[in-house]
Amino acid sequence: MDAYLVAILTTAAVYVILALALNIQFGLTGLMNFGVVGFYGVGAYTSGIMTETLGQPILLGMLAAIVVGGLAGGLVSLLSIRLSGDFLAIVTLGFAETMRLAFNNEDWLTRGPRGFLIMTRPVIDGLGRGATAWFILGVFVLAAIIVFVVLNRLAGSPFGRVLRAIREDDLVPATLGKNVLAYRLQAFVLGSAAMALAGSLYAHYVQTITPDNFTTQVAVLVWMSLIVGGAGNMKGAVVGALVVTAIYEGTRFLAPLMEFLTPTQVSALRFIIIGTLLIVVVRYRPEGLLPERIAPRSRPDPVPAAG
């Protein structure tokens, strides 16, 4: 049970990073990225190839994942040059599917459906089995915290204000002198790089990745996390990811309680429960569990005249 809790939390940390990454793209900037899993997969395979095929240390693998993920994000966004809603959504969806097919078919690079074995792990030697799991959890939580701090600082800065303005009505910042395309590009690249980092962590955690790990299901969970938690609020993204992962992973425990259901039915039940949660939240709290704040943050008031 203890080991299982650690495993759930480790997975949750990966989803927290994914939700934070989608938040800077969609929550803040309004960019519809339906291809979250594509960037996640690119990060996983890049990191794996770096450490296993090329024998590089794991930090270099993560770094490569971030760089390649960011480049992929830049490429995808330039393909749909205006980055306006529908076009970007379709292009990203196509990108994710193309990546999955590439993972499946470029056997020489990815070992295809047989799975890519990754021996390198983010641990120090000589720890016992239990301690290793805790150590990995610590590394993942640390990574999630770093991503949170970086993105949260950006979200609360004047840079983030421009992103929000673009989300609300891109013509307004444009006519006020902001280069909207450059901002969209930066937000998209940043988010894609963070998604690739999540993929890298995941790959070194599960140690065998197959193209089946990178289906739309991942993107759906990340989108649900963000909508439930509160798009536009970085803390909301964290809470959403924790809630959705808890339900998704926690429903495994339902299986022994519901012997009248087959395992397949139980696994479908998980999505039914999450789907119901999504409907309830969207109906009764459309801005999410932790809504975006509108009022200005505590700003310095004008200094009162002396005397």
Binding site: S157, P158, F159, R164, T175, G177, I294, A295, R299
Partner: protein
């Protein structure tokens, strides 16, 4: 002679094969309040879209402060000092009034990703300074008591004033106002007239104004340009053009 702020030189824009603006030329001098009037469908808003870079002209030249800026995107035109308001005001509903104005600040260091990440103190200092300036702009348009409200909760007239404050914050020397008095309560129209006059007189701002409210145009503008069916129909003082038979025929009709 005053310098020319905006020079529209033979601008033409075709939409769906129809020339909605056809070979129109006029100029706006620095420090002038100029009106752009004409019946619905005359091409006034299209002209604004051309001058603010939202649309690219099919032919003709646009010069701002003597520099050719034809075909530049809106954000570059804004940096040349041209900022516009919109016919249906486009405030950012889910952002506070103050944030709406702060957004307009030109050259805010905190709008660069690297500064936002690595120089939080410098960014905070700049933000504090610009917040002071934004509050001055809000004071100019009498929106100070509303600064913390989401912009979506403002009244129609207040939203127009917010757009004006944003243009000022952006450092515009030329402000294009698209029907700023439309759908605004009469007492607020008076207030808008006073504010525009004050900005023109005290800060030397140049205005180009699209308006249907004849009283508003008469009270504010020194010159007007009349457009009809995409063409320039007449130009001169309002009293001058309002005696022009073609203008009476196509636009003013029995109103004049």
């Amino acid at each position: 002679m005053k310098p020319v702020r905006i020079e529209v030189d033979g601008l033409t824009k075709k939409l769906g094969g129809v020339a909605v603006v056809n070979n129109v030329s006029f100029q706006v001098d620095a420090g002038q309040i100029m009106g752009l009037i004409g019946p619905n469908g005359a091409g006034k808003t299209t002209m604004f879209n051309l001058i603010s870079g939202v649309l690219r002209p099919d032919a003709g030249k646009l010069r701002v402060n003597g520099r050719d800026v034809t075909g530049l995107p809106p954000y570059k035109l804004a940096r040349h000092g041209i900022v516009r308001s919109f016919q249906l005001s486009r405030e950012l509903d889910r952002m506070s009034v103050l944030d709406n104005v702060l957004l307009a600040a030109a050259d805010h260091p905190g709008e660069h990703m690297a500064n936002a990440l690595f120089r939080p103190f410098a960014v905070r200092r700049a933000e504090a300074k610009l917040t002071e300036k934004a509050r001055e702009m809000l004071a100019l348009v009498a929106l100070t008591p509303h600064e913390a409200k989401p912009a979506g909760t403002l009244s129609g007239g207040q939203k127009k004033l917010l757009e004006l404050a944003r243009a000022l914050m952006a450092g515009a020397d030329t402000i294009l106002l698209d029907e700023i008095a439309a759908g605004v309560a009469p007492h607020l129209v008076e207030e808008i007239i006073e504010i525009v006059q004050k900005l023109n007189r005290d800060l030397g701002k140049t205005f180009l104004i699209i308006e249907h409210n004849v009283g508003f145009i008469r009270a504010l503008t020194s010159r007007v340009v009349v457009m009809a069916a995409g063409e320039l129909l007449a130009e001169g003082s309002f009293d001058h053009v309002s005696r022009n038979p073609a203008v009476i025929d196509s636009y003013l009709g029995q109103a004049a």
